[in-house]
């Protein structure tokens, strides 16, 4: 069973965000970078599926700056077989451009399944997976919490409108990983040593236009100071009255 996983290098989720001098991107100073958390889940699941099938490959693919080799080596240390990095110092552009570049990269790779994170925790688009699926004309199920493969069919689960759906998807297919799909393993020393010798192919980005343009990035407006009320019946009454009459939310 051959699985491709698309992984993105993103700021650590704890990172304090400042806007860069260009007014459109984040200031990279002092930021720790990590593999996007849902992508890590997807890598773990890919390894489990390959091993359960008794063979095959897991290839991790990324578009990003040269430093992304660190996150790709982490995936190799977890147990992936091979990595491909399309080097782009500031990324490929928006979700559409990124999806085009990834679709081209994936096209040449063996892949019964292409896995994505449900969303990258920087852009929060949840878009690139379904876009790549559309470009490759493969069926796509987003936000899956379970994957089982038998022959040419994957059975997946996902939660929608408070219900859990069990879906059968014809392979080759594209799936995006929701929390609960797998618990990412920590790479061991042996894995880290082995990763150094595994193939990591780098290729340059072919310029791809983005149909959208980020005009500005700003910090969210601060909220007004908190109004404190007593933990008494009177306090609760005042609260309900304010919520209905002043704020109109009840």
């Amino acid at each position: 069973m051959d699985v491709v996983v698309c992984v993105k290098r993103v700021p650590d989720t704890e990172a304090k965000v400042r806007v860069a001098a260009d007014g459109r991107s984040i200031d990279a100073a002092g930021i720790q970078w990590i593999m996007a958390p849902y992508d890590e889940i997807a890598v773990e699941k890919a390894l489990q599926l390959r091993d359960a099938a008794g063979g095959g490959t897991v290839t991790v693919v990324s578009v990003g700056p040269a430093e992304t080799s660190k996150e790709l080596r982490t995936a190799l240390a977890m147990g992936a077989d091979k990595a491909v990095l399309v080097t782009a110092p500031t990324g490929a552009g928006d979700a559409s451009a990124t999806a085009k570049v990834l679709a081209d990269a994936v096209r040449g790779l063996p892949a019964d399944l292409v896995l994505f994170g449900k969303q990258a925790t920087d852009d929060d688009d949840a878009a690139v997976g379904p876009m790549v699926a559309a470009l490759l004309d493969r069926p796509c199920v987003a936000f899956v919490t379970s994957i089982e493969v038998a022959g040419k069919v994957a059975t997946v689960k996902r939660e929608i409108d408070g219900e859990v759906e069990v879906l059968e998807v014809d392979l080759p297919a594209v799936l995006t990983a929701q929390k609960g799909l797998a618990e990412p393993r920590l790479p061991g020393l042996k894995g880290i040593m082995a990763a150094k010798k595994k193939p990591l192919e780098e290729k340059p980005l072919a310029a791809t236009p983005s149909p959208t343009e980020t005009r500005s990035l700003s910090l969210p407006p601060g909220r007004a100071a908190c109004r404190r009320l007593e933990p008494t019946r009177e306090g609760v009454r005042t609260l309900l009255k304010a919520l209905r009459e002043e704020r109109g939310v009840l």
Partner: protein
């Protein structure tokens, strides 16, 4: 001729329009008025022929109905085919989805097929001069981007609950739209329904969430009762979900759901950055916590410093009495 129409993708469930349909209709109406164009809705589902009246009340001029068993449940490939057929007919400048799970799964596929620009989970779409610009939180709401949609066609999914549906009545025309359903590659085998009728968190107007300070699942009835009194959906922090007290679908935050209700009540939740990531765009936030220095008070509009075990029953009682009035 430059494009002037807005196409909204109206989701239905069990034959009923979902709330997002009216939100996108309202957002679309403003832009169509500015461009001098129409708002057209494509409605997919089964038994949805009556949708035109309700949509007309919110500013929709024309309804394209795609009705049939293939559309009874959301299925992205079928929905995308319906939307693409509607786009071919209407030639819109903008296609609006509601950023529900179904919307988030379908909209990018439609954008990719059209070569359109796509902004996901937008909190506003507006004209700045001649440019169509969407506002979109990034980094779990720690930054807000303004994104211009330059391509001839734009696709935007609008975060549920951020647009308040407004009345703009007109008599909407309705017609069936023929869609060739693509070969089925995804089959629904089973649906496990929730045990009770629950309000979907991301679409709820009011949410009451509980944290680790409630000390155990046996105390949840206090929280559920207060939520019930407020007509609210209920959520939880990750600490609670990790401890197995509540299911993951109730988790609010970076690795759970992003919610934007009108009112969010955080009970015995400290307000870790990853929790705030999921709820800080709520319109009004109330915090109930016994620690007056808890970070949750930093984002709250109203705060009660006190013991949740004493405050929750008061809240339930008083809300029942007050909201009846």
């Amino acid at each position: 001729m430059s494009r002037t129409h807005v196409l909204i993708v109206a989701e239905t469930r069990g034959g009923q329009l979902k709330k997002g349909a009216f939100e996108t209709a309202t957002a679309g109406r403003r832009l169509a008025d500015a461009w001098g164009g129409k708002v057209v809705a494509v409605v997919t589902g089964q038994g949805v022929a009556g949708a035109a009246d309700a949509l007309g009340k919110h500013g929709v001029d024309q309804v394209l109905v795609v009705d049939g068993p293939a559309f009874a449940r959301h299925q992205a490939e079928a929905t995308a085919a319906a939307v693409l057929a509607a786009v071919a007919k209407v030639s819109p400048r903008l296609v609006l989805f509601s950023a529900t799970l179904a919307g988030k799964e379908t909209a990018p596929a439609v954008a990719a097929k059209l070569g359109a620009g796509y902004v996901a989970d937008a909190t506003a779409v507006a004209l700045e001069g001649a440019d169509l610009v969407a506002t979109k939180p990034r980094l779990a709401g720690k930054a807000i981007a303004k994104v211009a949609l330059k391509a001839e066609v734009a696709v935007v999914s609008v975060r549920p609950n951020v647009v308040t549906p407004a009345a703009a009545p007109r008599a909407a025309t309705s017609e069936a739209l023929a869609v060739t359903v693509p070969a089925v590659r995804i089959r629904c085998k089973e649906v496990v329904a929730p045990t009770a009728k629950e309000i979907e968190l991301t679409e709820a107007d009011v949410i009451v969430s509980g944290g680790r300070g409630l000390q155990g699942p046996e105390h949840w009835k206090l929280l559920l009762d207060a939520a019930d009194a407020l007509g609210a959906a209920h959520g939880a922090s990750r600490a609670v979900v990790d401890a197995g007290w509540r299911p993951h679908k109730e988790q609010v935050g970076q690795t759970g759901k992003t919610v934007s209700p009108k009112l969010y009540v955080a009970v015995a939740i400290s307000g870790a950055i990853q929790h705030l990531a999921g709820m800080s765009s709520s319109k009004v936030i109330v915090a109930i916590n016994k620690d007056g220095d808890a970070p949750i008070f930093g984002v709250a509009d109203f705060g009660i410093v006190g013991d949740a075990f004493a405050v929750l029953p008061l809240l339930a009682e008083e809300a029942r009495a007050y909201l009846k009035k």
